[in-house]
Amino acid sequence: MANEITLTIDGKQVTVPAGTLIVDAARELGIDIPVFCYHPKMEPVGMCRMCLVEVGRPMVDRATNQPVMEADGTPKLQFGPKMETACTTPVSAGMVVIGMSDKVKAARNDVLEFLLTSHPLDCPICDKGGECPLQNLTMGFGKGSSRFEFEDKQHNQKHVPLGELIYLDRERCIQCGRCVRFQKDLADDPVIGFYQRGRNLVIDTSSEPGFDSIFSGNTTDICPVGALTTADFRFGARPWELKSAASLCNHCAVGCNLTYNTRREAKSDGNVVIKRAMPRQNEAVNEIWLCDKGRFGYHFAESHQRLEKPLIRKDGELVESTWDEALDMAAKELRAYGFRFVSLASGRLSNEDLYEIKQLTENLHGQACLYSPMAGGDLTPLIGYADPQGLSRVGKGTVIVVAASNLHQEAPIWWMQVRAAVKRGAKLIVVNARSTRLDKFASAVVRYRFGREAEAVLSLVPAAETSGESGKIIAAAENLVVLYGSDGIGLEGSRQVAAASAELLRASNLLGKPGSGLLPVWQRANDQGAWDTGFTPVDDLAKVVSEADGVLIAGADPAGDHPAYAAALKKAKFIIVQEQFLTKTAQLADIVFPVQSMLERDGSYTNGTRRVQRFMPVVEKLPGTRPDYLVTAQVRQKVVHSNLEFISAAQVFMVLAAHLPDYQNLTYATLMETVPQHPILGRSDVYYGGTSFENRQGLGVQLGTAANRRDKYSLPAAPSTQNQLPDLEHAEELMAVPVAELLDTGTITQKSVLLGKRTSTPFALMHPKTAQQKGLAAGDKAKISLAGVTYQAVVRVDESVPTLHVLLPRSLGIPLDKPVLVKVIQ
């Protein structure tokens, strides 16, 4: 650190970076100055007054500007007449902080008493009981009795739904404002706020529907009392009854670390069930945040429609069978059809699963296809963004380019981090065909018509004649991060954008710096792991599948997603499906193996920045099911007589690590290593009580890149700047392009009862003029005909969308894997 400051707190010396606040400096010494309103992830406001301390500073002679000395040669200290809030006061050289004098203790006592005289003290039925800072600090500092009359307590509403997900207990609220500040300063959804004033101050929501934010659950973690609770966990269990298991969120490429709290419950037939999901601190990934999809979307495992026995096709019907029978049949068929084998897997699977499928595919000389419309996973090992800090510390000097991505919906936590990076001084350039929620934080916004993504990205290359303002910003960058997503593009478009992004990075001459690189916004949690284990997406999946003799599908439901894939699968000779549910694809299979969800087993994912992380079993496995890697390994054993030593995930991972150079030296043990993280959040009961945030189960390992290792590597040629899509001027049809919608109706969200209430309806987003041309207005139901089938969608309009285009959400029932022409009518 450039500027270090040494000060004394309660007699102990500590040296911290300039600008550190007294509370944080004290925590470095293990001294917990109690706080309520302060939260180290947010700007301090100094309003609860819990952290008052006495502060002395070396006295300076005004005339000479020299420090005044005591007789014994020590600097003379000047204490202010008032105590100061440790949460708002930055340290200064020679400062002496007294955090334990009688005066300080009395002040804490008073503030606590004030809070408690209006607090319901319903700890015995409060969800926060047992992990509540107020409770803990009261035990530490509070008086035994109060000077006030009990009847004088202010009574307030106790069950205020702020929306379907979050409940507020106004009596418990201590008006610290953490929730309000989080929503405004970090989530950029200022949908809750303080109303009234003085003693009548209350939190309320101003949005319709209530608490309309995809980050709302985080407020329940940072609320220092039990005032905000999730509809999910409210009255669900007492914290001390809960067991916890480390896991990862599997909804997007961020790879958020979380902890599931579980309990064995009579009402669930004595099974272990998940009571809640809590963020697990990983400053390199999600810090301490989760989006609501990750927090509430775990109910998929509880669904009662799970497959419990293998199914095999007999006389045209799928019937239950034993594992042995099904495995034998699979081996027999594969040996017969082995010459044209295709495996199709997605980033929903773990590295171990994918590795096994890849091995089988190689044994059968087949093709390993990744079920994804995005390209560029081969570039990330070369030039990926691989800063060991993730995106959480990006700031001044860094330029972030976000191209063809609606990041808020595609990777919410990265969106929040990009926004925070801009606050810290990073510059943002948004390159997108239409406006997104990042635009307002951008230094420059580049628009293009769909199909011209690559051209738009290349226009940023500083030398390019067209680069203009944004080119200048990039030319001045000390670090460059390029994120690209899949807003309005299919695989071919993605290939172009990835190549263009790589070219932009190459031209910047910043490659090789750990803070620079390429960051694809994958659609699934382990797409990068799939690339790393040897899967690649294919251009004409329907064709590849229909020409195959044997197909193995795992972690994907192509038939459910697209009728064309269903048709293609019907042509395939023999299909094996590894699934949890009887999906449309499973219904077409010849053999269906019932597999376990990630919650029932262990494994690893590689996230977008190529951090390899572990997840552990959380609930008991459903009897009759097996993990994907084991199923494939057993099939493989029977097909090629491989040995089956590797039956645990850890063993599969060891083999994988031995064979994939980038994964060398990784073991489950290394993935589980932790180091102290800053800010210190997990300890004792100050910022947050008890169980959550603390991460003792591993921070994962960030993989390196060829560029950072200074290895030789070559990048693809810069893509052409050709328009990828046909000219629309005279077409009667509209160009439909697929976009992401966080709360879609994918297999996973659908099964979460809670999120079900928030899922979007299928929509068709158009320029108002285009809608008008088609005789439509916002809110109307439009008919969209696509390959002979008609779908309904609610019209939304947005001036920033290019005319003659219609944006349709992925996974909301309208099959769309790339831009296509559609007819839109009233």
Binding site: G46, M47, R49, D110, T117, D152, I174, G198
Partner: protein, 593 residues
């Protein structure tokens, strides 16, 4: 959250309450409910919309219509006309007041008028009038003959201290901002004047706006600032209007805007309206309010000079502080410093209320004794009664007893006596005042105005109020006094802003100087001043009563019985202690016990 299409601000000053403001407000609420408008229109309490002469009165925003002379019976008509039909109910609209100042007569004895010198003398809407009284001569002098540093030195030497309450040397603040690089700095005039009963600033704004503008331009020059704001409370529509006229005239004459008086110095001004909350007068809350945020204070440091409006170095001064500046520049620091005493220089305006013969606005030199103010300037106590206490410093100030009357009026003496200078509200109380009730009254105000941001003020003021209410209701207990003392100390030392830090002062000072009154309430269950309703009873003296029946006819609860021409009797169980009987009795037959 509810979005209101209109806001109605009803004046709840003592005068208006006396004339039925509570009832009018209740009627308004009821009528809005009945018409189904209550979710569209918000009714709020405020103070000093006008001058309470024509109360009850109210302002309707966003239109800014000022209705006066309202009665409960007028409300249905008013609601129908204004809020349902969208027509202004002209018959209640306050006529525009003539600019001539009637409130301010000739200077009383011992008054010296520096800030108020032009008030009532010149036409505030005519810049030429101001210029004829040496207006803008100081600006010319500062811009052409003095460097910014010289302006700061002169004002420092004059001893001018902030008139908003804290008394920080004005030019010292300017020098902090002057030392900051860059031109992104702001000058703010605090014209929020929220103390109930205070109208010193309003008088200057309405009668001599150019003096404030000129002072601001000079301060801006000294501190190197190009943009200024005047934060004026919305309840002062005339002040806002006058200020805007003055700004436009000054701009037209090249006194504001680019290249002022050809000196190359640029400065411009804008008026921002405040939303009525008392705490918005606190400088950090005021800046938050200008930024469009909730008007809530934030911890200092950082002080405005380091990080003020929009995080930029800013200077905040009170109206009166600025209004002094032109005279100091023109007549010199020595002239100014010749008025006042050792540490408090110049003059101070006060708004006198209460039981003195001459209430209203005065301007006196610092150092004058409280006795001189009460007995010489204000003509002594009304109706020949005894002086009991004087409250200085507004709602966060203290009550001083007769034994302190010889204290000089200056910043240090007031603080040392357990009160404060404040912005200039003075309330004189006679022997009929109950000091516990007074403390309760101020506590009611501050706890109501607490923004609620910080814990001690939000909860603590309510706790004090609850105990005071109990004491006034005759339910005081052993230990209450000690608890109050402790609470006061705690809230003072832990609150975030001046409101919470000052809120306990009225209680603390009355506990200090009038402790025996608290004791009488708590231990003897008596209110010595016979004010606290639960502790008094009315009695008809049978030997004086003529049996005229006027009291029993006027009693709202029929607590008085008696035959005509026979002595009447009050039933203490029915009596609500409204005191009407005592007022209406023509023979002074009714006494309070």
């Amino acid at each position: 959250m509810k979005y209101f299409r209109s806001h109605i601000l009803v004046c709840k000053d003592p005068d208006c309450i006396h004339k039925g403001a509570h009832e009018v407000m209740d009627a308004l609420q009821d009528e809005l409910v009945a018409e189904g408008l209550i979710n569209e229109i918000q009714v709020l309490e405020t103070s000093r919309i006008g001058n309470c002469w024509n109360g009850p009165e109210m302002m309707v925003y966003p239109e800014g219509i000022h209705y006066t002379n309202l009665t409960v019976d007028d409300i249905p008509y008013l609601v129908e006309e204004h809020f349902l039909k969208g027509r202004i109910a002209t018959r209640f609209v306050e006529p525009e007041k003539s600019v001539k100042d009637e409130e301010l007569g000739a200077p009383k004895s011992k008054e010296i008028r520096v800030v108020l010198r032009n008030c009532g003398k010149i036409d505030p809407e005519n810049i030429e009038d101001y210029i004829a009284e040496d207006g803008y001569a100081a600006l010319g002098k500062a811009l052409t003959e003095m460097s910014p540093t010289q302006v700061i030195e002169t004002v420092l030497a004059s001893g001018l201290r902030g008139r908003g309450g804290a008394g920080f040397p004005a030019a010292r603040k300017w020098s902090f901002v002057a030392a900051k690089q860059g031109s992104d700095k702001f000058l703010i005039c605090n014209a929020d004047e929220g103390d109930p009963g205070a109208f010193m600033n309003r008088r200057v704004l309405e009668s001599d706006p150019h003096a404030v503008l000129e002072g601001m331009i000079i301060a801006a020059y000294a501190a190197g600032i190009k943009q200024g704001y005047i934060y004026c409370r919305a309840e002062y529509p005339i002040a806002v209007k006058t200020l805007n006229i003055a700004i436009n005239q000054a701009r037209a004459m090249g006194l504001l805007g680019k290249d002022i008086l050809g000196s190359g110095f640029d400065f411009d001004l804008e008026v921002r309206m405040g939303a009525g909350a008392f705490v918005c007068g606190e400088e950090t809350a005021l800046m938050a309010s200008i930024e469009g945020k909730r008007g809530e204070p934030r911890p200092r440091p950082p002080f405005p000079a380091d990080s003020g409006l929009w995080g930029k170095p800013s200077n905040v001064n009170n109206v009166e502080t600025y209004a002094n500046v032109p005279q100091i520049i023109l007549k010199g620091a020595d002239w100014y410093a010749s008025m006042g005493n050792e540490k408090s220089k110049g003059t101070k305006t006060f708004a006198i209320a209460g039981d003195v013969n001459n209430t209203g606005l005065i301007e006196v030199p610092f150092g004058i004794s409280l006795r001189e103010i009460v007995f010489d300037v204000c003509g002594g106590i009304k109706d020949g009664k005894q002086f009991k206490a004087i409250q200085t410093g507004g709602p966060m100030g203290g009550c001083l007893p007769a034994s302190q009357l010889d204290l000089p009026m200056d910043y240090e003496s007031m603080t040392a006596a357990g009160s404060m200078m404040g912005s200039g509200g003075l309330i004189v109380m006679d022997e009929d005042t109950c000091m516990v009730d007074i403390a309760r009254f101020f506590m009611e105000f501050t706890q109501d105005e607490s923004c609620g941001k910080c814990t001690p003020c939000r909860v603590g003021t309510r706790r004090i109020l609850e105990i005071l209410n109990r004491i006034c209701e005759g339910k005081g207990r052993h230990g209450d006094i000690e608890t109050l003392e402790l609470l006061c100390k705690e809230i003072k030392s832990t609150s975030l802003c001046g409101l919470g830090q000052g809120a306990p002062t009225p209680v603390e000072s009355t506990l200090k100087h009038f402790r025996e009154e608290y004791e009488a309430h708590i231990f003897q269950k008596k209110c010595p001043a016979k004010v606290c309703k639960s502790l008094i009873s009315y009695e008809i003296q049978p030997d004086i009563c003529t049996g005229c029946t006027v009291c029993s006819r006027n009693c709202p609860v029929e607590a008085i019985n008696g035959e005509r021409r026979q002595a009447h009797k009050i039933d203490p169980d029915v009596c609500v202690r409204c005191g009407i009987c005592m007022q209406v009795c023509n023979f002074n037959a009714i006494i309070v016990n």
